[in-house]
């Protein structure tokens, strides 16, 4: 009974809540656009003097934040012992993909204004654009294979494929770091968080590997020392 209640609470309360929270940045931008267009007078949601840049930066920063939150699910799940956190990972990852995609589409269609020669020049010539674009490309197969069906069909390969989030997050942080002018403090915070999240995985991987090695060593020792031989009766 308790278990059923927890499932219901996750499904009908926690998940919709997280969903709405993930929509907040978009809602803020829409409020700002409504203010800009003069539909409402709401300067608090104002997008400032340079709305095009403000919208693009907001999409980008929330894409990166949600990517890091997605990467934080597994460590928090294991450290806090909350297996249920896993149920939120797909939604968080898809929201990260949504914001990163909007960041890119806004850049392409609004900031660069539909001029494909400028896109090609920018993506090829500007390293920070190149790495940002590569990060987006890496996220596409992950979004496509995020369904239950794809998970079942891919089996063990699904997990291997979804490790692409690691290079995508590294490129995302690099993209942020490379585009600031002089104040690197904010991108450094993101790099640090990413380093902790990836460092924890490396630590866990090495710990598991050493445990496996120790178990293997013990098995081999036991075999070599004859501990594995069938027991036989001992004549008196």
């Amino acid at each position: 009974m308790m278990k059923l209640n927890a499932n219901l609470a996750t499904r009908w309360i926690a998940k919709p809540l997280v969903f709405l929270l993930c929509l907040l940045p978009l809602g803020w931008l829409l409020a700002g656009l409504a203010d800009l267009a003069g539909f409402v007078q709401w300067p608090a949601a104002g997008l400032g003097a340079n709305p095009v840049e403000e919208i693009q930066d907001t999409f980008g920063i929330w894409g990166l934040r949600l990517l890091l939150v997605t990467l934080a699910v597994t460590p928090f799940r294991e450290i806090l012992g909350w297996p249920r956190l896993l149920l939120f990972r797909r939604m968080l990852g898809l929201f990260a993909f949504f914001y990163v995609s909007m960041h890119f589409l806004w850049y392409l269609l609004v900031d660069q204004g539909l001029d494909w020669r400028l896109w090609i020049e920018d993506i090829a010539k500007r390293p920070y654009v190149t790495v940002g674009f590569t990060a987006l490309l890496l996220l596409i197969p992950l979004a496509v294979t995020s369904t239950q069906r794809a998970m079942r069909r891919l089996g063990r390969r699904w997990q291997r494929l979804h490790r692409l989030i690691y290079p995508a997050a590294i490129l995302g942080c690099t993209h942020f770091y490379w585009q600031v002018k002089a104040d690197i403090r904010e991108p450094l915070v993101y790099c640090l968080v990413l380093a902790v999240l990836l460092g924890w995985r490396l630590y866990r991987y090495r710990k598991r590997a050493s445990r496996r090695r120790a178990e293997q060593d013990a098995r081999e020792y036991q075999q070599a020392s004859g501990a594995g031989l069938p027991v036989q009766p001992l004549a008196e």
């Binding site: 003097a49 340079n50 020049e121």
Partner: protein, 315 residues
């Protein structure tokens, strides 16, 4: 709207401003308006003093000027924080009066001068200039100021003076952004003497007919409209004449990205972004960028300063 106590101009500052204005070349005592307008309160500026000036039509563009809210709310002034909205929020701690400027180096008029004495003989003009930021956005700003060259002449630079170096105030209590070392403080900029003598280069003390708000570089700032905005140094406390090229802040911070000359030039990209086009802040067509023009559209006046120079190398 609630106004925080920190946003209200303290009485001594207010009085000092009035004295300062009364002192400007007998241009008439300042007239206080009824009170700060809503826009002024929002932008944390108290524009209470009107300046007396004549419009200089010859050196003014007919393009539509940006709103006061845009000009005072979207600033790069790292001394008050690196976000565009930080200067409007934080510049209240700057005390622009009393103010003095040290003049030294290769000139006869070395010394420390009060702002009032510096400004006294100069008639103020309004110049509506284009401002092109190195970050590929631009504005139209109605500055109030006077030609830099007229001031330079008063200090009688010697024949050894080839450059003019300007320095911003260094005081982390007034400029909280200086507590973090995003740039090598104090901010230093410079011009070649012939650039400084060009009639388009001005020192501004106001905008939109009123005293310069703190976040725009009060009380005295440079405006060099054919160069990227970072050349137009704010809140100047020192002017030095030198034989060698001054080491300027952004050029020191990232020499590959920012040069001494920093002339607006669509043919020379910033290593990380294109300089071919710019976004005009506040424009009706803010969704699209417009082409950037060489020397920010002032080529007819200033291109001769750079004849024979390779502007790709001297960027």
């Amino acid at each position: 709207m609630r106004i925080r106590p920190s946003e209200i101009t303290p009485e001594p500052v207010y009085r000092a401003r009035r004295e300062f204005l009364a002192g400007i070349a007998g241009l008439g005592a300042a007239s206080a308006l009824a009170g700060p307008s809503l826009a002024e309160q929002i932008m944390n500026v108290t524009l209470i003093e009107r300046l007396n000036y004549k419009r200089n039509a010859r050196y003014s563009t007919s393009e539509k000027a940006n709103s006061l809210a845009d000009i005072t709310g979207y600033n790069n002034f790292y001394e008050f924080g690196t976000d565009k909205s930080d200067p409007a929020r934080n510049a209240g701690s700057l005390r622009p009066r009393p103010w003095s400027v040290v003049v030294d180096g290769e000139c006869e008029g070395k010394g420390r001068y009060t702002l009032e004495d510096l400004l006294k003989p100069h008639a103020l003009e309004e110049r509506i200039y284009r401002l092109r930021c190195v970050e590929a956005w631009s504005m139209i700003i109605p500055w109030i100021g006077f030609p830099l060259g007229d001031l330079v002449k008063r200090f009688k630079p010697t024949s050894r003076a080839k450059f003019v170096e300007f320095t911003t105030l260094l005081d982390p209590r007034q400029m909280p952004g200086q507590r973090s070392s995003v740039l090598d403080w104090p901010y230093v900029e410079g011009l070649r003497v012939d650039e400084a003598m060009h009639p388009l280069a001005i020192l501004a003390v106001g905008l939109y007919g009123q005293v310069l708000p703190n976040q725009n570089g009060a009380p005295l700032r440079l405006v060099v409209p054919w160069k990227y905005g970072f050349k137009s140094i704010k809140s100047i406390v020192r002017i030095r004449f030198t034989e060698g090229m001054p080491a300027t802040t952004w050029a020191l911070s990232a020499p590959r990205e920012y040069g001494f000359y920093a002339n607006v030039n669509p043919e020379v990209d910033h290593p990380r972004w294109s300089q071919k086009r710019e976004r005009r802040i506040g424009s009706d067509s803010f969704l699209s960028r417009q082409p950037t023009v060489k020397f920010n559209g002032y080529a007819a006046e200033v291109a001769s300063l750079y004849s024979g120079m390779d502007l790709t190398r001297n960027f």
